[in-house]
Symmetry: C2
DNA sequence: CGCCAACTTGACGTTTACGTAAACGTAAAC
DNA sequence: GTTTACGTTTACGTAAACGTCAAGTTGGCG
């Protein structure tokens, strides 16, 4: 491995902000714990569009953020198709009133969906906290140290 | 269709409580908005085990609850395998100290996972609320009624 | 009795989200 | 110069979660 910190960022003062950072596909893969294949697949599906230098893909800070967003969406149980829709929501043309109203409508719909999930999640958490409490109490009553490993 | 409002709860006091209710597979499917095929699939995967009367499946109130739980898990983005694991957590043997400690450990792990999802969800909701606010403000500034359809 | 509606068990098809392998280019390292 | 590391495309494979027939059974109804 030999460190190989690929800081492509020049030590210059004017530019090398975090926002100017460029990532290779392997870097992104490592950082997010996915494979390069996955990232290319997301590109095939139209979720990311990295710059190209010849054939090689170059990912900007924006792509980095976008990928993080995608993976968060996945953790929340959205399909890639849904995530693409949501991403596109951001980048929709916002000049026309009709467009804006549609964006508002979609946003509200999505928020409602998220709030439904929030309620599901609350219920789920409450149940497992209940289990935790009960079991901890039972162990306590038995005089057992809940943390010990034997 | 003929209405068929499923308030089967008799006004009787003694026996046929809601907990004694028995459901057919089609009833469950209708109520939860899934197909009978799905329910049978869950059974194949070991997520539900309805009684049988001959070949026909009979679902108890417990099965009903269980199915609701499964679907909530799905909405939260858990796989059927994960959901099965979680369901089994409840029904684990709770006699031994070692078993109890394991249950406690697993519960805590799962709660941590749920809390991570909660943070994801919070972040997601915050972003979309932001969009909503911005867009609503923009429409307001333009003197457009956000609700009108033209 | 015939018939329909609702149930059953296979078995194969489909979509999603990637994994895996082949075959190749490029560029630094030994 | 060739190995090593990383990149590329193309293409087929696969696991999960069902959908979609096909073919048979069962219970009630006119």
């Amino acid at each position: 491995m030999s460190a190989a910190a690929p800081s492509v960022v020049p030590a210059n003062s004017s530019a090398p902000r975090d926002t100017a950072r460029i990532y290779s596909i392997a870097e992104l893969a490592r950082e997010f714990g996915i494979t390069a294949r996955t990232i290319r697949f997301y590109e095939d599906e139209g979720l990311i569009k990295p710059r190209r230098q010849g054939l090689t893909r170059l990912y900007s800070a924006g792509d980095h953020t976008r990928l993080g967003w995608i993976l968060r969406g996945k953790r929340l149980g959205f399909s890639l198709a849904e995530i693409k829709e949501l991403l596109d929501l951001y980048h929709v043309d916002r000049t026309g009133n009709q467009q804006l109203r549609e964006l508002l409508r979609r946003s509200r719909l999505h928020i409602a969906e998220l709030e439904r999930r929030m309620r599901d999640l609350d219920a789920h958490i409450a149940e497992f906290r209940e289990v935790e409490t009960q079991v901890a109490a039972e162990l306590e009553a038995r005089g057992v140290d809940p943390e010990s490993d034997d």
